[in-house]
Symmetry: C2
Subunit: 161 residues, 2 copies
Protein backbone atom coordinates (compact mmCIF):
# COMPACT_ATOMS: atom_id res chain seq x y z
CA UNK A 1 0.00 0.00 0.00
CA UNK A 2 2.82 2.29 0.93
CA UNK A 3 4.46 1.43 -2.36
CA UNK A 4 1.24 2.11 -4.25
CA UNK A 5 0.97 5.55 -2.66
CA UNK A 6 4.51 6.33 -3.63
CA UNK A 7 3.85 5.14 -7.18
CA UNK A 8 0.69 7.21 -7.37
CA UNK A 9 2.46 10.32 -6.08
CA UNK A 10 5.31 9.78 -8.50
CA UNK A 11 2.98 9.36 -11.46
CA UNK A 12 1.16 12.49 -10.33
CA UNK A 13 4.42 14.43 -10.39
CA UNK A 14 5.25 13.03 -13.78
CA UNK A 15 1.86 14.08 -15.04
CA UNK A 16 2.35 17.60 -13.70
CA UNK A 17 5.82 17.56 -15.19
CA UNK A 18 4.46 16.60 -18.60
CA UNK A 19 1.91 19.41 -18.44
CA UNK A 20 4.78 21.84 -18.15
CA UNK A 21 6.95 20.17 -20.77
CA UNK A 22 6.50 21.48 -24.29
CA UNK A 23 4.72 19.22 -26.73
CA UNK A 24 6.78 18.16 -29.73
CA UNK A 25 5.02 20.60 -32.05
CA UNK A 26 5.63 23.82 -30.12
CA UNK A 27 7.57 26.11 -32.41
CA UNK A 28 9.97 28.63 -30.98
CA UNK A 29 11.27 31.64 -32.96
CA UNK A 30 14.96 31.20 -33.83
CA UNK A 31 17.27 33.98 -32.70
CA UNK A 32 20.07 33.87 -35.27
CA UNK A 33 18.11 33.99 -38.51
CA UNK A 34 19.65 37.26 -39.73
CA UNK A 35 22.84 35.29 -40.22
CA UNK A 36 21.04 32.63 -42.23
CA UNK A 37 20.91 32.71 -46.02
CA UNK A 38 18.80 35.68 -47.12
CA UNK A 39 16.40 34.13 -49.65
CA UNK A 40 14.74 37.29 -50.93
CA UNK A 41 12.68 40.31 -50.00
CA UNK A 42 9.18 41.22 -51.11
CA UNK A 43 7.03 44.22 -50.29
CA UNK A 44 3.26 43.88 -50.11
CA UNK A 45 1.88 47.37 -50.59
CA UNK A 46 -1.57 48.89 -50.04
CA UNK A 47 -2.62 48.15 -53.61
CA UNK A 48 -2.34 44.42 -52.95
CA UNK A 49 -5.43 42.34 -52.10
CA UNK A 50 -3.15 40.67 -49.51
CA UNK A 51 -2.33 43.93 -47.73
CA UNK A 52 -4.65 43.46 -44.73
CA UNK A 53 -3.19 40.03 -44.00
CA UNK A 54 0.38 40.32 -45.27
CA UNK A 55 1.15 44.01 -45.78
CA UNK A 56 4.77 44.98 -45.15
CA UNK A 57 8.33 44.18 -46.12
CA UNK A 58 8.98 40.44 -46.07
CA UNK A 59 12.60 39.53 -45.47
CA UNK A 60 12.86 35.78 -45.95
CA UNK A 61 15.67 33.58 -44.57
CA UNK A 62 16.39 29.85 -44.62
CA UNK A 63 18.61 27.85 -42.28
CA UNK A 64 21.59 25.81 -43.49
CA UNK A 65 19.60 22.55 -43.40
CA UNK A 66 17.30 23.70 -46.19
CA UNK A 67 19.62 25.80 -48.32
CA UNK A 68 20.57 23.18 -50.88
CA UNK A 69 16.93 22.16 -51.34
CA UNK A 70 15.96 25.81 -51.90
CA UNK A 71 18.32 26.00 -54.86
CA UNK A 72 16.62 22.94 -56.37
CA UNK A 73 13.10 24.22 -55.61
CA UNK A 74 12.46 21.56 -52.93
CA UNK A 75 11.60 19.08 -51.48
CA UNK A 76 12.99 20.12 -48.11
CA UNK A 77 14.58 17.84 -45.49
CA UNK A 78 13.32 17.63 -41.91
CA UNK A 79 14.81 20.40 -39.82
CA UNK A 80 14.50 23.02 -42.56
CA UNK A 81 13.31 26.35 -41.22
CA UNK A 82 12.11 29.36 -43.12
CA UNK A 83 11.71 32.66 -41.33
CA UNK A 84 9.87 35.66 -42.71
CA UNK A 85 10.84 38.75 -40.79
CA UNK A 86 7.90 41.01 -41.63
CA UNK A 87 8.54 44.71 -41.11
CA UNK A 88 6.60 47.90 -41.53
CA UNK A 89 7.78 50.24 -44.26
CA UNK A 90 7.37 53.89 -45.13
CA UNK A 91 7.46 55.51 -48.56
CA UNK A 92 9.70 58.58 -48.77
CA UNK A 93 10.13 60.32 -52.15
CA UNK A 94 9.69 57.05 -54.04
CA UNK A 95 11.91 55.01 -51.71
CA UNK A 96 10.42 52.17 -49.68
CA UNK A 97 12.26 52.21 -46.36
CA UNK A 98 12.22 49.41 -43.81
CA UNK A 99 10.61 50.10 -40.44
CA UNK A 100 10.10 48.13 -37.22
CA UNK A 101 9.12 44.47 -37.05
CA UNK A 102 5.44 43.54 -37.24
CA UNK A 103 5.56 39.77 -37.13
CA UNK A 104 8.01 36.91 -37.32
CA UNK A 105 6.67 33.97 -39.35
CA UNK A 106 8.24 30.52 -39.02
CA UNK A 107 7.85 27.38 -41.12
CA UNK A 108 9.59 24.26 -39.86
CA UNK A 109 9.73 20.94 -41.69
CA UNK A 110 9.03 17.75 -39.77
CA UNK A 111 7.20 15.31 -41.98
CA UNK A 112 6.02 13.08 -39.14
CA UNK A 113 4.88 15.73 -36.65
CA UNK A 114 3.05 17.89 -39.18
CA UNK A 115 1.51 15.28 -41.47
CA UNK A 116 -1.80 17.14 -41.75
CA UNK A 117 -0.17 20.35 -43.02
CA UNK A 118 2.16 19.02 -45.70
CA UNK A 119 4.94 18.19 -43.25
CA UNK A 120 5.32 21.83 -42.19
CA UNK A 121 4.68 23.44 -38.84
CA UNK A 122 3.65 27.09 -38.95
CA UNK A 123 3.71 29.83 -36.34
CA UNK A 124 3.56 33.62 -36.26
CA UNK A 125 4.95 35.71 -33.40
CA UNK A 126 3.63 39.23 -32.84
CA UNK A 127 6.61 41.58 -32.95
CA UNK A 128 8.85 38.51 -32.99
CA UNK A 129 8.00 37.85 -29.32
CA UNK A 130 8.25 34.15 -28.38
CA UNK A 131 5.49 34.72 -25.84
CA UNK A 132 3.05 36.02 -28.42
CA UNK A 133 2.26 33.20 -30.84
CA UNK A 134 -0.69 34.03 -33.11
CA UNK A 135 -1.45 30.75 -34.86
CA UNK A 136 -3.97 28.49 -33.16
CA UNK A 137 -5.03 26.51 -36.22
CA UNK A 138 -2.21 26.18 -38.76
CA UNK A 139 -4.37 24.22 -41.22
CA UNK A 140 -6.80 27.11 -41.53
CA UNK A 141 -4.58 30.12 -40.84
CA UNK A 142 -1.52 29.05 -42.88
CA UNK A 143 -1.72 25.85 -44.85
CA UNK A 144 -4.83 26.86 -46.78
CA UNK A 145 -2.76 29.37 -48.74
CA UNK A 146 0.36 27.18 -49.01
CA UNK A 147 -1.47 24.05 -50.22
CA UNK A 148 -1.57 25.02 -53.93
CA UNK A 149 2.27 25.17 -53.88
CA UNK A 150 2.45 21.38 -53.42
CA UNK A 151 4.81 21.10 -56.42
CA UNK A 152 7.33 23.24 -54.49
CA UNK A 153 6.84 21.41 -51.18
CA UNK A 154 4.31 24.10 -50.15
CA UNK A 155 6.91 26.88 -50.25
CA UNK A 156 6.32 30.22 -52.00
CA UNK A 157 9.91 31.48 -51.87
CA UNK A 158 12.15 30.80 -54.82
CA UNK A 159 15.90 31.01 -55.14
CA UNK A 160 17.17 34.14 -56.86
CA UNK A 161 20.89 33.78 -57.67
CA UNK B 1 79.25 44.89 -67.10
CA UNK B 2 77.78 41.44 -67.36
CA UNK B 3 76.44 41.85 -63.85
CA UNK B 4 74.93 45.23 -64.68
CA UNK B 5 73.12 43.78 -67.68
CA UNK B 6 71.72 41.01 -65.50
CA UNK B 7 70.61 43.57 -62.90
CA UNK B 8 68.96 45.72 -65.52
CA UNK B 9 67.12 42.76 -67.02
CA UNK B 10 66.00 41.64 -63.60
CA UNK B 11 64.73 45.09 -62.66
CA UNK B 12 62.91 45.21 -65.99
CA UNK B 13 61.15 41.93 -65.18
CA UNK B 14 60.24 43.18 -61.73
CA UNK B 15 58.77 46.32 -63.27
CA UNK B 16 56.67 44.26 -65.69
CA UNK B 17 55.69 42.03 -62.77
CA UNK B 18 54.48 44.98 -60.72
CA UNK B 19 52.35 46.20 -63.63
CA UNK B 20 50.46 42.91 -63.50
CA UNK B 21 50.21 42.69 -59.72
CA UNK B 22 47.10 44.18 -58.19
CA UNK B 23 47.56 47.45 -56.34
CA UNK B 24 46.59 47.43 -52.66
CA UNK B 25 43.32 49.22 -53.33
CA UNK B 26 41.83 46.78 -55.83
CA UNK B 27 38.49 45.68 -54.39
CA UNK B 28 37.12 42.25 -55.17
CA UNK B 29 33.46 41.31 -54.69
CA UNK B 30 33.02 38.92 -51.75
CA UNK B 31 31.27 35.63 -52.51
CA UNK B 32 29.65 34.71 -49.20
CA UNK B 33 27.79 37.91 -48.39
CA UNK B 34 24.35 36.31 -48.40
CA UNK B 35 25.40 34.59 -45.20
CA UNK B 36 26.49 37.88 -43.64
CA UNK B 37 24.20 39.89 -41.38
CA UNK B 38 21.32 41.25 -43.45
CA UNK B 39 21.25 44.93 -42.49
CA UNK B 40 18.07 45.98 -44.27
CA UNK B 41 16.34 46.25 -47.62
CA UNK B 42 15.18 49.36 -49.45
CA UNK B 43 13.40 49.77 -52.77
CA UNK B 44 14.09 52.82 -54.93
CA UNK B 45 11.08 53.12 -57.23
CA UNK B 46 10.43 55.15 -60.38
CA UNK B 47 8.99 58.06 -58.38
CA UNK B 48 12.37 58.62 -56.72
CA UNK B 49 14.77 61.30 -58.02
CA UNK B 50 17.47 58.64 -57.44
CA UNK B 51 15.84 56.09 -59.73
CA UNK B 52 18.14 56.57 -62.74
CA UNK B 53 21.23 56.05 -60.59
CA UNK B 54 20.00 53.74 -57.85
CA UNK B 55 16.67 52.26 -58.95
CA UNK B 56 15.99 48.74 -57.71
CA UNK B 57 15.81 46.61 -54.60
CA UNK B 58 18.80 47.20 -52.32
CA UNK B 59 19.62 44.23 -50.10
CA UNK B 60 22.35 45.41 -47.73
CA UNK B 61 24.72 43.11 -45.82
CA UNK B 62 27.64 43.68 -43.44
CA UNK B 63 30.48 41.30 -42.58
CA UNK B 64 31.19 40.13 -39.04
CA UNK B 65 34.01 42.66 -38.60
CA UNK B 66 31.61 45.60 -38.80
CA UNK B 67 28.50 44.18 -37.17
CA UNK B 68 29.02 45.52 -33.67
CA UNK B 69 29.83 48.99 -35.00
CA UNK B 70 26.64 48.96 -37.09
CA UNK B 71 24.57 48.51 -33.95
CA UNK B 72 26.25 51.57 -32.43
CA UNK B 73 25.95 53.65 -35.63
CA UNK B 74 29.71 53.58 -36.33
CA UNK B 75 32.62 54.30 -36.49
CA UNK B 76 33.68 51.12 -38.29
CA UNK B 77 36.94 49.20 -37.84
CA UNK B 78 39.30 48.47 -40.71
CA UNK B 79 38.20 45.36 -42.56
CA UNK B 80 34.50 46.21 -42.36
CA UNK B 81 32.68 45.47 -45.61
CA UNK B 82 29.22 46.50 -46.67
CA UNK B 83 27.66 44.91 -49.71
CA UNK B 84 24.57 46.20 -51.46
CA UNK B 85 23.14 43.50 -53.68
CA UNK B 86 21.04 45.61 -56.03
CA UNK B 87 18.31 43.71 -57.88
CA UNK B 88 15.65 44.53 -60.40
CA UNK B 89 12.07 44.26 -59.18
CA UNK B 90 8.64 43.94 -60.73
CA UNK B 91 5.31 45.14 -59.35
CA UNK B 92 2.57 42.52 -59.48
CA UNK B 93 -0.85 43.37 -57.98
CA UNK B 94 0.69 45.68 -55.41
CA UNK B 95 3.54 43.32 -54.52
CA UNK B 96 7.15 44.33 -55.21
CA UNK B 97 8.93 41.14 -56.22
CA UNK B 98 12.70 40.71 -56.42
CA UNK B 99 14.22 40.09 -59.84
CA UNK B 100 17.74 39.44 -61.15
CA UNK B 101 20.86 41.26 -59.95
CA UNK B 102 21.78 44.59 -61.53
CA UNK B 103 24.86 45.58 -59.61
CA UNK B 104 26.87 44.56 -56.58
CA UNK B 105 28.13 47.56 -54.59
CA UNK B 106 31.00 47.17 -52.12
CA UNK B 107 32.31 49.51 -49.42
CA UNK B 108 35.44 48.41 -47.58
CA UNK B 109 37.02 50.23 -44.65
CA UNK B 110 40.76 50.78 -44.65
CA UNK B 111 41.56 54.13 -43.09
CA UNK B 112 45.11 54.28 -44.44
CA UNK B 113 44.54 53.15 -48.02
CA UNK B 114 41.44 55.26 -48.62
CA UNK B 115 42.28 58.46 -46.75
CA UNK B 116 40.87 60.71 -49.47
CA UNK B 117 37.41 59.07 -49.35
CA UNK B 118 36.76 58.97 -45.62
CA UNK B 119 38.67 55.73 -45.11
CA UNK B 120 36.33 53.78 -47.39
CA UNK B 121 37.06 52.07 -50.68
CA UNK B 122 34.12 51.86 -53.11
CA UNK B 123 33.46 49.67 -56.09
CA UNK B 124 30.46 48.59 -58.19
CA UNK B 125 30.36 45.40 -60.21
CA UNK B 126 27.95 45.10 -63.13
CA UNK B 127 25.78 42.03 -62.52
CA UNK B 128 28.08 41.19 -59.60
CA UNK B 129 30.84 40.21 -62.07
CA UNK B 130 34.34 40.63 -60.60
CA UNK B 131 35.56 41.37 -64.13
CA UNK B 132 33.19 44.28 -64.62
CA UNK B 133 34.09 47.01 -62.13
CA UNK B 134 32.30 50.28 -62.86
CA UNK B 135 33.96 52.80 -60.55
CA UNK B 136 36.97 54.63 -61.93
CA UNK B 137 36.82 57.65 -59.61
CA UNK B 138 35.40 56.78 -56.20
CA UNK B 139 35.68 60.36 -54.93
CA UNK B 140 33.34 61.60 -57.66
CA UNK B 141 31.18 58.55 -58.30
CA UNK B 142 30.61 57.45 -54.69
CA UNK B 143 32.04 59.59 -51.93
CA UNK B 144 30.31 62.78 -53.06
CA UNK B 145 26.98 61.33 -51.91
CA UNK B 146 28.36 59.65 -48.78
CA UNK B 147 30.31 62.67 -47.51
CA UNK B 148 27.35 64.37 -45.75
CA UNK B 149 26.99 61.20 -43.60
CA UNK B 150 30.28 61.93 -41.83
CA UNK B 151 28.57 61.66 -38.42
CA UNK B 152 27.81 58.02 -39.24
CA UNK B 153 31.26 57.27 -40.66
CA UNK B 154 29.88 57.96 -44.18
CA UNK B 155 27.40 55.07 -44.00
CA UNK B 156 23.72 55.44 -44.95
CA UNK B 157 22.53 52.11 -43.57
CA UNK B 158 21.17 52.02 -40.06
CA UNK B 159 20.56 49.10 -37.77
CA UNK B 160 16.93 48.02 -37.54
CA UNK B 161 16.46 45.53 -34.65
Amino acid sequence: MQKLRWLSATLGLLAIGSLHAEPADVIQPPTDYRHWFHVNTMIVDKASPLFDQLGGMHNVYINATGEEALKKGGPYPDGTMFVTDLHEFTVQDGSYVEGPRKVLAVMVKDAKTYQSTGGWGFQLFAGGDAKKPLVTDAAKQCFGCHEPRKDHDYVFSTYIP
